[in-house]
């Protein structure tokens, strides 16, 4: 109590008095704080002078700081300081640092890129980053793929071919696998038989008579599977029609089904409904040709490098 009293006696008042004795305390902020405030106002004025700040007439004050960068025509340009010019300058520096590598990636054929150990480790580290930013959402981290959605890239089994040129083409232009639906074209029995034949190609023990009938259908004009999957069922890489003999399944979840009946059902579903959902986006508008080349080598190595 007594302390509070002494304090209130020492505190200044503004000197106003209303209704006779109603007074107003005056508690000014510490002096150093006040000067810090004035200082920050001065710094703000400094900012206005150095950097772009105020709209005036048809433009804005640009400030007297400047920045120099090289544009993509190779011209050196100096302009007032701004974040976009700074971005170009930083890009110039980063590109200069990586230029020896990217120049080599651009000019060397794939076979030589893989042989050069230093270049190869550059490709693997930048390829990994590119892959997780752009591809992992579908092909998953590490490229293991996703059943019923996107192919496994690590198994050296390729829908569209595993040579450098095939992979480069796949990434550049994208892919879209298409197989028509057969539910309205074939009878349920015919589809059963085809499913059994397809499973027999993977050496799964099914009813041999049914598979035999399916074999005939597969190669007949009625079902015409062979047009796309080939006489031997090994598929055609130009159109990405799956190899049906390799025991690798993307759309029909055969390995995930425990019983023969469930395996048959999985294959039947694909034949009945067809396939139109295998969409690999095109990357040519999003990634540079060198980045695509880096990714091509990276994916090729994921698949064991055929």
């Amino acid at each position: 109590m007594s302390q509070e009293k002494t304090q209130s006696q020492t505190v200044q008042t503004t000197g106003h008095a209303w209704d006779g004795d109603l007074q107003e305390y005056n508690n000014p902020i510490p002096v150093w704080w006040q000067y810090a405030f004035y200082f920050s106002v001065a710094v703000a004025v400094g900012y206005w002078l150095i950097y772009p700040a105020w709209p005036v007439g048809g433009g804005f004050t640009t400030g007297f700081d400047s920045i120099t960068y090289v544009n993509d025509k190779g011209e050196k340009k100096t302009t007032h300081w701004n974040t976009r010019a700074l971005f170009l300058k930083e890009t110039n520096e980063a590109v200069a640092a990586q230029k020896p590598y990217f120049d080599k990636v651009e000019s060397l054929p794939f076979e030589q890129i893989v042989k050069d150990p230093e270049l190869n480790s550059f490709v693997v580290s930048s390829g990994k980053q590119l892959f997780s930013d752009n591809c992992a959402a579908c092909h998953q981290q590490g490229g293991g793929g996703k059943e019923g959605f996107a192919p496994n890239l690590t198994d050296d089994d390729w829908l569209y071919g595993g040579h450098f040129a095939n992979i480069q083409q796949t990434i550049t232009n994208g892919r879209h696998g298409y197989m028509p639906a057969f539910a309205d074209v074939l009878t349920s029995t015919q589809i059963d038989q085809l499913a059994d034949y397809v499973l027999s190609l993977s050496r799964i023990a099914v009813n041999p008579d049914s598979a035999k009938a399916g074999d005939a259908l597969f190669h007949s004009e009625t079902a015409a599977c062979f047009y796309c999957h080939g006489d031997n069922g090994k598929g055609r890489q130009q159109i990405g029609s799956a190899n049906l003999t390799d025991r690798i399944w993307l759309w029909a979840n055969v390995p995930g089904a425990d019983t023969i009946a469930a395996k048959e059902a999985a294959v039947k579903k694909v034949i009945q409904g067809g396939l139109n959902k295998g969409v690999m986006p095109s990357w040519k508008d999003r990634l540079s040709p060198e980045q695509i080349k880096v990714l091509t080598v990276y994916v090729h190595e994921l698949g064991g490098g055929k």
Binding site: H16, P55, D72, T79, N82, T91
Partner: protein
Amino acid sequence: MFNFKHEWIETNVGLLLVLTMLAISIGGLVEIAPLFFIKNTVEKVDGVRPYTPLELRGRDIYQREGCYLCHSQMIRPFRDEALRYGHYSLAAESQYDHPFQWGSKRTGPDLARVGGKYSNEWQVAHLTAPRSMVPQSVMPDYPWLVKNELNFADIEDRMKALRDVGVPYSLTKSEYDDNVKKFGAQTAEMLSIPDARKNLIAQAQSGNYDGNSGSISEMDALVAYLQMLGTLVDFRKYDDDAFVKYR
């Protein structure tokens, strides 16, 4: 010397009022005046257009679901952002956004250029159950988007409201003709308010974004919106330093 006293102001209501308004209007002026000059900072680029009716509904759903709480739509001009997301965002690209979705909260990645990055199939699967595609994702499931039928009964009113704040959706023949000059006939068609329903249905059916052609779902609209984000400007047409002078 002139001896200023607080008391003058504090005991004179009229003066207090005038000075208070003066102080507030300076604050307002500093924030509002630049908007009158903002045109100088909007880059002159081809291709940017207002949203089609279907995309607009998709954008409304994006806002309704609070996607902006985790996703920004502005790629800053930094090198690491450009490497991950693509070209930095231009002011021109959000000129028809009311409100804009720039944001600074990024629990998830920036979406300013997500258009075309993934397939429609991926978008549908990911929005329905993000962890089915990205196992470590913390994004919530939105399973109702495929189930909810899209309500577009008030699409004309939504477009009219935006027209009132300056988005060039056309009501009259002369506005339509202006749009033909500005955006070309095909786009102008899409911006016509009287044709909005017809256009919305046509785009949803031809795009079939959710993979179910039977009905138009909220997913159709949202995916149509996501798939056009950041795709309007063809940056190959411009030098990399074409936009420096606007900052």
